[in-house]
Subunit: 268 residues, 2 copies
């Protein structure tokens, strides 16, 4: 089905529906690849340098030498924005393992850049907040933005059955949601967020950079959640969003700290 | 690069190098898909029914309704063997998540069937045995043959640096290698293999079916490996192969039990 949008693939801008990868690509055969996703607002890419820095870091971790420079990718992103004219949207840069000669070793990585409409959560969704269920799991290579979303897609029926919106991973400590970072607000109005075994989100980074915010990266246990006054998540596609329930524990949605941060982040 | 081989893709037999998937496919975007791999010997598929049964089970677990029947897939496999005439080879059936409308929900799954030459381990490799390093990790959805091989491909440089051939996963208990099942032989000549949190291999199943074999599915700890007399692995592409070293612990390669089983399995 044609979307009328352009995508960048194999050195060219082509109709998005014609962007393909070989069936021998290591992404198709072994789930091996990385990506990044950035928001476009008023036809401007947000935090482009941060996203590109993470993209190159993810690529290096997975030994995907793509031959692209930061300047080259920046040019592609702006050209795509120019061609597609989707003022409120998201851009996804995917780098796959390439055609593998033996279905196991890395080939020449393939770069795909696509753009699609993005609607940020409405005020109603913000008021309602997110319902999470906890799930004992540690993502493999958590510091790399890999294409591995096998488990959360597998878990969708369970999430729906529990009347929830997403899962919250934990082992000894709480880590993250599959596509968002996690925060709690303590009774003392301190903001805590997991410090390790997570993907460090760009919105999370923005929050950590805010001056005079009583925020700490630390280890958080499930018990700390039960004792917390508020909880919220951050992501590129959601901004900051209150959590109204985790398993059987309810929170005010939004709590006052979350609401204040939401206002503050909107001006970044 | 043309291999001169046919592949089955989207209802047709086409040149393998033309087999493609959309960049919007859930395998490329989220690493979501399953596969199975069977051996062809003298132009005959081995244990085809077992592989197809597991393929359908994996597809059902990941909610990939592909509309194919066992008879339909059998026909495709035989037609591919007929067209390619690769008497000693492997056939891979891949089922991807399909084109996702939102990069997260499952689309219409895409079936790809490819064939490639397969050389079973030489007598020299059998004599030499495999060197393994242990790795604390539990595969996600271990009972499903998913396309997720992110970690073992990521670990290749470490494996080479340690002078090893592969990793052996464990948490509380030993589980499996990324592409093979694991066995030990105790001082009492009992054969033990992990019972849970593993993919149940077809060669492992064949071994468990052998009559009068003192073999038990049980929990195995790292300490049990240190106390074992022999270790070996099984897989479709390797048959049965001795393990000559796990971390710093060496084993006779092949031990007498492994050698006898190798002879016995060759006649199955």
């Amino acid at each position: 089905m044609s979307t009328g949008l352009f995508a960048y693939s194999d050195g060219q801008f082509i109709a998005e529906e014609n962007a393909i990868v070989s069936a021998r690509d290591l992404s198709v055969q072994r789930g091996y690849g990385i990506f990044d996703y950035l928001r476009v607002k008023n036809n401007q890419p947000l935090h482009l340098d941060d996203h590109l820095a993470r993209f190159f870091s993810s690529a290096a971790e997975l030994r995907l030498a793509n031959g692209f420079t930061k300047e080259g990718l920046t040019e592609i992103v702006f050209e795509l924005i120019n061609r597609n004219n989707l003022p409120e949207s998201g851009i996804r840069l995917t780098l796959t393992g390439g055609i593998s000669k033996d279905s196991y070793s890395i080939g020449n990585p393939v770069l795909l850049v696509t753009q699609s409409p993005l609607q940020m959560p409405s005020p109603e969704i913000f008021q309602k907040g997110l319902k999470l269920i906890t799930c004992q799991h540690q993502r493999q290579l958590p510091h790399v933005k890999t294409i591995d979303y096998l488990l959360p897609i597998y878990l969708q029926p369970l999430i729906r059955e529990k009347g929830a919106d997403d899962v919250l991973y934990h082992q000894e400590f709480v880590t993250e949601c599959p596509r968002a970072n996690f925060f709690i607000v303590t009774k003392e109005k301190r903001i805590l967020t997991p410090q390790k075994n997570i993907l460090k989100g760009i919105t999370r980074q923005q929050l950590l950079k805010l001056k005079d915010l009583p925020i700490t990266e630390t280890d958080i246990r499930l018990q700390d959640i039960a004792d917390a006054e508020e909880a919220f998540i951050t992501s590129t596609t959601k901004g900051i969003l209150p959590v109204s329930r985790i398993d059987d524990h309810s929170f005010q949605s939004p709590g006052p700290v979350t609401a204040a941060l939401h206002q503050q982040l909107a001006f970044i």
